[in-house]
């Protein structure tokens, strides 16, 4: 570093304060340069959290809060604990079982417990006999190993787990935002950070899975297969049999009857906590071919896939015991309060050509909503509505909303509901159509769509929001008394929901 002090003679020693100031300035310049480099490196890395991060946050917040730190309490407890610790350590050492140990073959094991599989895969063997086969390039972290199991995080790739069924066995495998709880079984797990996709394939035994789009843990039994794409709001379970070919090669879904009534298919999923039955609308014939795949809505006991208004076979609220509504007979609802308002487009033609997936959801997620709308228009809006798959249609609807094209969004939602009835996208479309109507002041339309959503997906991801918004609309349009039963239902179902205060205020008549 150059010294540019002009007035100091070479033979005069530099003053201590001057030297310190010069060194401090040099230090500051040095850390400033390094700080700039650090910022540049940070900025050059991919930005932003993963799409699943919000879902994980929502789930984390929904879980009961851990006890807050209480210094005073600890101050009293710590001395006692210290005094007893020395006396108990020796005993505990003899009594407590040893934590499991493990070794790795064919891969790299970091001291932190991270296993990185080699090009031919690798095997992790625990001292209780549990074995994990990692596919090539897969990464697994053993974050905590106890005497009866371990907590594992599959960071990338696929792995085959064969967990020994032993008394008190407790294993957990984290894959992205999902957690697979295991007591003893054999199964495969795959996690792709890039695709934001989790897959669990059961070979024997059972596991319980929790994560986004699941309001409670779902049990998977032998042979079942879970596929979750939380960023797209898509979660499916099937029984692991080969796909039955769909008519147009697209995602299997319930088929509309000639009268427009549909029965949402439910796969035979023994052991899973899925709704056991489907109720067919009285006026419509039951669809014979039940597709194998279906979106899951845990805790739903009965489901009715509603048809669009004006078509046929609409169910009245009194027909749907799963979703009791106290305000359905209110005047001004326009007849059947469960039937959503008309959609802006008629039924599509039956012969829809194969759609080349455009992955619009990723483009929308990256903020490129305008380009998605442009792309759809270049393909042709009508053709898009007829041919696009469920994911692209839902993405187009989102893109249209964000691009300020509500009419296009409504068309896309309408097409989603007509072409993929019973799918998670169709259910979400009902809620979003309701919110669009609600936000533009169409309380009746909003109310009917919210009710439709709640009837179709009573435990769906938007159930709390739909019920809360329904409560507010009813309160606004029909008064507190009419909204009171909804408030009570809301508090019962969502005691920590975001409309908690409004519901309590209604009940307390404040």
């Amino acid at each position: 570093m150059s010294d540019d002090r002009p007035f100091e003679l070479p033979d005069q020693p530099e003053s201590r304060s001057g030297r310190r100031a010069r060194e401090a300035a040099a230090d500051e310049a040095l850390v400033s340069a390094l700080g700039q480099a650090a910022r540049a490196v940070a900025a050059s890395e991919p930005a932003g959290p993963s799409p699943a991060a919000w879902h994980r946050l929502t789930r984390a917040r929904a879980q009961p809060a851990r006890g807050a730190a209480r210094p005073l309490r600890w101050a009293a407890v710590v001395p006692v604990a210290c005094a007893s610790l020395a006396a108990t350590v020796a005993v505990v050492r003899h009594v407590r079982p040893q934590s499991l140990t493990y070794d790795v073959r064919g891969g790299d094991l970091a001291s932190s417990g991270q296993v990185e599989a080699g090009p031919l895969g690798s095997a992790v063997r625990f001292s209780d006999g549990t074995e994990i086969q990692l596919d090539a390039k897969a990464r697994l972290a053993v974050s905590a190993a106890g005497p009866h199991g371990a907590r594992l995080r599959l960071q990338a790739g696929a792995a085959h787990f064969r967990v020994m069924h032993l008394p008190r066995a407790a294993w957990a495998v984290e894959a992205g935002p999902y957690v697979v709880e295991v007591t003893g079984t054999e199964f495969d797990v795959r996690w792709s950070e890039h695709e934001q996709t989790v897959e669990v394939k059961m070979i024997s035994g059972s596991v319980r899975v929790s994560g986004p789009l699941l309001t409670e843990r779902v049990a998977l039994g032998k042979g079942q297969h879970l596929l979750a794409r939380p960023g797209m709001g898509d979660l499916r379970i099937d029984d692991g049999r080969p796909d039955r070919p769909a008519a147009n090669g697209s995602v299997p879904a319930a088929a509309p009857t000639p009268a427009g009534a549909v029965v949402e298919p439910l796969p035979p999923v023994p052991g899973a906590t899925l709704p056991p039955a489907i109720v067919a609308p009285a006026a419509g014939p039951v669809v014979a071919a039940a597709p194998r795949l279906a979106a899951i809505r845990p805790r739903a006991r009965r489901r009715v896939a509603l048809v669009e208004p004006g078509r046929s076979a609409e169910r009245r609220p009194s027909d749907s015991p799963a979703v009791p509504r106290a305000d359905t007979s209110a005047p001004g609802d326009g007849g059947d309060s469960l039937s959503p308002p008309p959609l802006p487009e008629s039924a599509p033609s039956s012969a829809a050509p194969r759609w080349r997936a455009r992955n619009w959801s990723a483009r929308v997620a990256s903020g490129d909503a305008g380009a998605v709308v442009t792309d759809a228009e270049s393909v042709g809006v009508d053709a898009t509505m007829r041919q696009a798959d469920a994911g692209d249609l839902a993405a187009l609807a989102d893109a249209a909303r964000y691009a300020g094209r509500p009419e296009l969004a409504e068309r896309a939602f309408g097409a989603t509901r007509r072409r993929f009835p019973g799918s998670s996208q169709a259910h979400a479309a009902a809620f979003l159509l309701g919110r669009m109507a609600d936000d533009r002041g169409d309380s009746t339309g909003g109310l009917r769509w919210y009710r439709a959503y709640l009837a179709e997906a009573p435990a769906g991801p938007y159930a709390a929001e739909a019920l809360g918004r329904q409560m507010l609309i009813v309160k606004r349009s029909q008064g507190r008394e009419a909204a009171l039963p909804i408030a009570q239902e809301y508090l019962g179902r969502f005691p920590n929901g975001t409309y908690l205060l409004e519901a309590r205020a209604l009940i307390d008549n404040r």
């Binding site: 340069a33 890395e45 959290p49 994980r56 997620a365």
Partner: protein, 212 residues
């Protein structure tokens, strides 16, 4: 930023475009406001976490911290007095969370739960191998500082907070924060100058060119 941040595409944000509207919605517990806050701030907080923690961190671990930041933010937003300060409020929480994480890592290191107490790095292709390697070594040098000193140092020299902000976030007086910052700067500079791999930065003139 080289890429647009991913956002959760739900909800209308028109009511929450302003700080006042957003904070009012958050105080009401409006889920749409929370989603709007996430869409608006999550990428920024994530970037702050990257800078505070350094390169090569486990993305999952960083996402856990991001969650922690927002959980605290939603829980404490009621204490925010000036809505316009919501950005700084969030940055303060982020610094606190990182400080806690570093202290936890140090405790883990002391307990020998890992060899270094540092979350294992996930290999990822560096944008510029030389600069990234240098920055990685630089962050390793910072491990000699106590968690609080490191937090103060990084918040000031990398995150770019003002001295007053650094003092406020860490609950210190400005003079104390300055004293600790100077001490940390001196210690880190000494270590950097002794490291041949970081010699280029010590030359000063070439420093800026290496960062990009």
């Amino acid at each position: 930023m080289t890429a647009s941040p991913l956002r959760v595409l739900r909800g209308e944000v028109t009511d929450f475009d302003t700080d006042e509207g957003l904070v009012a919605g958050l105080r009401r517990g409006d889920a749409r406001a929370e989603l709007a806050a996430w869409n608006r701030f999550s990428a920024r907080v994530d970037a702050t976490l990257r800078r505070l923690l350094g390169p090569g961190q486990d993305p999952q671990a960083r996402e856990d911290l991001l969650q922690e930041v927002f959980i605290r933010f939603f829980a404490r937003v009621g204490t925010l007095r000036v809505a316009a300060a919501v950005g700084g409020f969030l940055t303060g929480i982020t610094v606190h969370v990182v400080h806690g994480e570093l202290a936890r890592r140090r405790r883990r290191s002391w307990l020998r739960l890992t060899s270094t107490g540092v979350t294992p790095d996930i290999a990822s292709p560096p944008p510029c191998a030389e600069a990234r390697e240098a920055v990685l070594r630089y962050y390793q040098k910072l491990e000699v500082l106590s968690p609080k000193d490191r937090s103060i140092f990084v918040a000031r020299t990398i995150e770019g907070l003002t001295l007053a902000e650094v003092a406020s976030v860490h609950g210190l007086s400005v003079s104390t924060a300055q004293r600790r910052l100077l001490r940390a700067t001196r210690k880190v500079s000494l270590l950097v100058r002794r490291d041949p791999a970081l010699a280029g930065f010590a030359d000063g003139g070439r420093a800026e060119g290496r960062g990009a």
